[in-house]
Symmetry: C2
Subunit: 468 residues, 2 copies
């Protein structure tokens, strides 16, 4: 496969054909290329050689077939909200901007599913579902495109109840590296008919094909929703509360952990007055009596762990206020060090190791400079937590230290039977941990699959798989 330095100039003949076919919808302007060469990660921009603004699966297939003929890399671009450098053109090539493919194609309330073009965002889908009594639950922090979320196997705060994109994509349309259009899955809720191509494409990060349409599962809006927040004397006490709650089988919709730094940042950013201590945010979905029962049980568990200020909110405006504070955590964190960028870690461990993993990680974090230390926020029902490391772009040593810390954390999680990435994907930066996490036999098998499907390595080269 190509090494990241294998950057060749764009063939003139390809540029001519793209111009002839797409006119102004093909651009090599520096500003356009620059915009499509950066994401929300801490990596410096790597612009593609040109950008095509595609409007249909057929157009995407045309572009890919042309690039295939010239063996030129192809990278899909949705909302640009990757945290792992997924869309950086490390080998140059053509970026396909999919933002015009933002139509909800069908909502089938009776079947609890919807078919969308790839650049419908999660919020746009939920807006389109307004009034149907249904919703789509997966919520990464960003208002990402559903195609991008599928490509990175994204999840978010309520995966503990509703699963990740892995569980919630029923089928998809994918443009393969040779320009053929693949349909995977279907609309049946389950199937035992052959290899699971849907799950192979979910999480493939654009390296096997470009997802252009998806059919996703929807869920009935619960009859009742309530939220609660509770502060704890220590992270360990909060984590013990999580473990007991999960083990009792309480069907929590969300259970989120924030550390003292995160709460302090939120109070400052959102003018809230939360107790500045490790805190759990809960959300309960069910019948009116069901959510009351759940909240009461959780309150009992929390009080055994010296939880304080258990605040329970059932009115929508109170719930929104609580969860807005949680959702502001990322920007609140950035506000702790104005002008900084964030490197966000993403490990996930079995829940029995969560307390150990958090404790070891904080012991490690103690050694870091104070202004590097950002908040911890965690989807702890899944054993997944993030630490934001705040780096000053003017101080390269900040990024170096942050990367070293993140590397130790990834290795710690893998040692604890976990993963280096719960929901952000591998992209560029986590390739060094792939063999450690999966073993050489698995890496060889992934390479064999990549080689079989994309022998010329034109699909988003330089991502997921480390150079052989």
């Amino acid at each position: 496969m190509n090494a990241p330095t294998d950057r060749l100039p764009l063939p003139e003949a390809l540029a001519e054909q793209l111009t002839s076919r797409f006119g102004a919808r093909f651009s090599v302007a520096a500003a356009v290329r620059q915009h499509h060469g950066k994401d929300e990660s801490s990596y410096p921009p790597m612009p593609p050689d040109g950008v095509v603004f595609a409007e249909s699966t057929g157009e995407v297939a045309e572009v890919v077939a042309l690039c295939h003929g010239f063996r030129v890399p192809v990278i899909a671009f949705g909302t640009g909200t990757s945290l792992e450098g997924h869309l950086l053109a490390v080998n140059g090539g053509i970026c396909i901007d999919l933002s015009a493919m933002n139509h909800v194609l069908a909502v089938r309330a009776e079947d609890l599913d919807a078919t969308v073009q790839c650049c419908v965002t999660r919020k746009a889908l939920n807006a389109a579902l307004n009034g149907t009594g249904l919703f789509f639950p997966i919520d990464p922090g960003a208002d990402a495109s559903l195609g991008g979320m599928a490509a990175t196997r994204a999840s978010g705060t309520n995966a503990v109840r509703y699963g990740t994109m892995r569980e919630n994509v029923l089928g998809m349309t994918v443009v393969l590296p040779d320009g053929h259009i693949l349909k995977t899955g279907g609309r049946a809720r389950k199937s035992a008919a052959g290899y699971d191509l849907t799950r192979l494409m979910v999480g493939s990060e654009g390296t096997l094909g470009i997802i252009t349409e998806l059919t996703v599962r929807l869920y009935p809006v619960p009859e009742a929703i309530s939220s609660a927040v509770c502060a704890f004397p220590s992270l360990a006490a909060a984590v013990r509360t999580v473990i007991q709650t999960i083990q009792m089988g309480i069907p929590l919709a969300r259970i989120e952990l924030l550390d003292t730094v995160a709460i302090t940042a939120i109070n400052r950013h959102s003018k809230t007055t939360l107790r500045e201590a490790p805190t759990l945010f809960f959300e309960f979905h069910g019948s009116a009596t069901g959510v009351r029962e759940q909240a009461e049980t959780v309150q009992e568990i929390a009080s055994e762990q010296d939880g304080q200020d258990f605040e329970w909110a059932t009115r929508p405006e109170d719930r929104s206020r609580l969860w807005q504070a949680r959702h502001d955590a990322y920007y609140a964190g950035l506000g702790l060090r104005p002008g900084c960028r964030a490197l966000t870690t993403d490990v996930c461990v079995p829940i029995s190791r969560l307390a150990d993993c958090v404790a070891e990680t904080f012991a490690d974090l103690d050694a870091e400079a104070a202004d590097l230390k950002g908040p911890l926020v965690g989807h702890v029902g899944d054993g997944n937590f993030h630490i934001m490391l705040l780096t000053d772009p003017e101080k390269p040593e900040d990024l170096t230290r942050a990367k070293e810390f993140a590397s130790r954390l990834a290795q710690r999680a893998i040692r604890m039977d976990g993963t280096c990435t719960g929901e952000h994907g591998i992209g560029i930066g986590k390739q060094p941990y792939m063999a450690l996490e999966h073993g050489d036999v698995a890496i060889d098998l992934m390479r064999a699959i990549k080689q079989a499907i994309d022998p010329d390595n034109i699909m988003n080269p330089g991502k997921i798989l480390p150079p052989a």
Copy 2:
């Protein structure tokens, strides 16, 4: 790839090496071969050329590596309960009997997971979980091995709540066609780290490797369980009840449909006195008040559809009696025509099409001979239903008619956006529908994956993929 007729004699040198390595645990005795060449489908036996009784992953790897050297087919044998001819040695070769690999290796109550050898059955795992407060939910009719269930992407009556093997396998150990030992997945609840090899192996029916160990999800035994049964004036009324129940988001653990033939057969077989009409069996899991609420809501929905004799059971012995009747349906069905064999269909459609699919199928069934007509049982919360066709082994025309009916049904389900198999797998008989269901691009991609992983086509040849 080899055609089904490509049956070569077992190389003598291979037989000698297997004898030298495994002694009496390698057998070419006719009775042993015969036993390992048949399953619970309607296909005639196709015995392998020899059987190795393996006791560890390492031994499986040794056998596969030896067969790989001679390009001899390898077939895994667990409990022999396939309904689709998965273990028939269509090209001969070596069968690996895994029945000694029946140890539960670890139960991690804190993490709600367990690691087992491949031939632990679902009942054996649940017996091992006794006293832990946890259970494993997936329940195909047979007491199948967990490895076989993963290989066929099995599910059962409570997939509507707990998912299928696709959702419940966290990771596995797989012996690849060259004898290498692959570890997939891990123990983290979610991961975005690379291609989903676990889901690629789930449902691969032994054609990509042999699953020797699995880590599966466990669930807390619900605080309360209750069951209900309700008869309806028509299948359509029962199906409407299912649709409304699902759409209201009631978290049913099971919702099973049985037609009049099935109930009649059960009454005869199990000495029950159920009203002989289309009937739904329900099971509710949750808190004591939760299950009462669920049952009350379902009773309201059912009564709007003229449901009768709504019987609600909360005591374990009453629940067992109800569900035993449901689980007896297969053998009760066979009892309708003594000496018969059953050909069991397995379509699954979007729930909005379930009523149409059942109605068209019954219209079609009307044309069949009375003694061919067996019961309908359905995991209808998923849109999945089975019709047993009772064939007399002495009358080949029975099997011909049954196959033609099943073929029309499979094509009908696919036309309705469904699948030819919800949970039994493709095996031998459903290959003709693969291209119709998935399209040629998908079939070519599946072939490319098979070719990349098993270039000599030694892993369970003749299954899943139709000859090119």
